[in-house]
């Protein structure tokens, strides 16, 4: 799946110890969560969306400590 604001592929990020996460444009949040729902992936969406220097708002989807980054990345990559 492509980030609609940067045209770069959406990436599952893994730094830190709180589990993998995805930063998505706010406008794309529903599309991504629908995809995760359809594959039975557990996640939580952070409460705050942030816009830096006037760029579009982005929001973090947390996959949890037990989240499987590779599996979710594969799901994102399977969608154009």
């Amino acid at each position: 799946m492509t980030d609609t604001t940067t045209q770069a592929p959406l990436r599952v990020l893994t730094e830190g110890t709180a589990g993998p996460y995805i930063i998505v444009p706010l406008d794309q949040l529903n599309e991504v969560t629908r995809l995760l729902d359809s594959r039975g992936i557990h996640y939580s969406v952070e409460e705050n969306a942030i816009s830096l220097d006037g760029a579009p708002y982005t929001i973090v989807i947390n996959l949890g400590r037990a989240g499987n980054a590779a599996a979710v990345q594969s799901i994102l990559d399977s969608v154009r």
């Binding site: 706010l26 969406v45 409460e47 705050n48 969306a49 942030i50 816009s51 830096l52 220097d53 006037g54 708002y57 929001i59």
Partner: protein, 139 residues
């Protein structure tokens, strides 16, 4: 495990907890410092709360940052230190009283409690826990 070894293990756990709390304080302060410097250098941002719909700008946050660091964060960290110390104190007391329960020799128990306990250690543990709970909740 001997009493000395138990106390050393407790000490190590508490020191680790204190380090984590201190790291949290330091890291959070650094994060806020970075935010303040980013704002001072001209970066702007806007935060939309998806639950309440409220919007916070960099100007709002810059105004709150110093208070967050100097007051809320410091107070919360201090409270966490106190909480860790309290846990240490009562855990130490539990270890000590379990090893030397004679000072609780005057405490009374229902005979049914004695009958329900598998052994003397279980009874001692029960009395020690009851004693500590009374101290904790009487504070």
């Amino acid at each position: 495990m001997t009493l000395a070894a138990d106390i050393q293990a407790l000490r190590d756990r508490v020191l680790a907890d204190l380090s984590v709390a201190h790291d949290y304080y330091t890291d959070t302060k650094i994060a806020w410092d970075i935010v303040q410097r980013a704002i001072a250098s001209g970066r702007s941002f806007s935060i939309r709360n998806m639950t309440t719909g409220s919007v916070t700008t960099h100007a709002d946050l810059a105004g709150r940052a110093r208070g967050y660091i100097l007051q809320q964060l410091t107070e919360a960290t201090f409270q966490q230190f106190i909480s860790i110390f309290e846990n240490f104190f009562f855990d130490l007391m539990r270890l000590w009283l379990t090893a030397y329960p004679q000072s609780l020799g005057g405490r009374k128990l229902d005979f049914q409690t004695v009958l329900d306990s598998p052994d003397k250690d279980a009874i001692t543990s029960l009395v020690v826990d009851k004693e500590i709970n009374e101290i904790v909740y009487d504070r």
